[in-house]
Symmetry: C2
């Protein structure tokens, strides 16, 4: 039931990708003067995985501040993928956090989620802004599970699990030594199953953000 043992990504990248790599039909007119990457990078591989999501994306992430990644998550919501994010309460309002902006996508006030079957929901390990959220332990995972579950009939071989030390931040992309494992397999692959069960347990315990 294993499709592939997957890939390992090792950050940092030398540069963020040029839009000519990440945006369809975008033409870069800067040529060799463009300081962004014009070939695949670890980040573009990572974004391609997020972009491959067809029906579900379950994310467990300590820090989410990288706008390129937040945009890929937004695009997943827009094409009807059910997105669920668990994050650390203490990082919701940290510098550059994309959590509140992503959460707005799922707000009834925006009417956004009425246009999209699944929408986005975000939950936290503690109440945001509470005293305990500054002193209590962290939701420190950095993993996501793509297209796992029973939402698509007979969908059994294209689940992806991404896991490692890589927080979804610009510093992790461009500066840190950081890694992500990408495992691909069936929803029945025990390793993927274990992470999905761990996600589900946290999801049922944590509160809506």
């Amino acid at each position: 039931s294993i499709k592939s043992l997957g890939n390992a990504l090792f950050f940092p990248d030398k540069a963020m990708p040029c839009k000519s790599i990440t945006v369809p039909n975008f033409v870069c007119r800067r040529g060799t003067a463009c300081e962004y990457a014009h070939a695949q990078t670890n980040l573009t591989f990572f974004l391609d995985c997020l972009n491959s999501a067809e029906f579900s994306l379950d994310v467990c992430i300590f820090q989410l501040t990288c706008n390129e990644i937040a945009e890929a998550v937004t695009n997943a919501v827009k094409r009807g993928v059910r997105v669920r994010i668990i994050t650390d309460a203490n990082n919701v309002d940290s510098n550059g956090s994309d959590i509140r902006r992503l959460n707005e996508l799922g707000s009834p006030n925006k009417g956004f989620h009425y246009n999209h079957k699944m929408g986005i929901q975000i939950r936290c390990d503690e109440r945001v802004g509470s005293q305990e959220c500054r002193t209590k332990p962290h939701m420190h995972h950095k993993f996501c599970i793509i297209d796992c579950g029973q939402s698509k009939k007979d969908y059994t071989s294209n689940t992806k699990l991404m896991n490692g030390s890589f927080n979804w931040t610009r510093q992790a992309v461009l500066e840190n030594q950081d890694n992500v494992m990408v495992l691909e397999g069936s929803v029945n692959f025990p390793m993927i199953n274990a992470y999905q069960q761990s996600f589900n347990m946290m999801w049922s315990k944590y509160e809506r953000f």
Copy 2:
């Protein structure tokens, strides 16, 4: 060439293990009054993996402050395992860090490493105590590779790779939501190979601590 797809460990544990679990022949006399764990925990599984090391242990760890883990590393050195650790310069002197104590094991002044074929060596991503080490990017990995390489003849099927969000700290054991994947396979397993190559590249670039 894959022995097993391995296990996933999800912290926190409810308690640190009692010595009756981790120390051979230790008898706990406290019975039900003992506040430590008397059965296997995520940490005891993790320590068992370190204890299984026969000839090499390559560690890439952002934070190392958990004394139980540092003791397992020390025991590996004592039984002749070649231990190499890469860590983040900014964490060498952080609260409770075990790095300086482990580094002493490999010091010529101690005469320790003369009794043991391989000993222990530690390297950092920056110069410890330097200005840049406080502001520069992090060596943020949390992985280790056990028994990989050509040191034992025909040793091809018992390499382990442990990787995830889990720093080697007491907070990660007892408080955080954190995970470790344990993959077992041959040294030729591409995923294990990728992490070994990444380790080797950092090792050759970084300086002795």
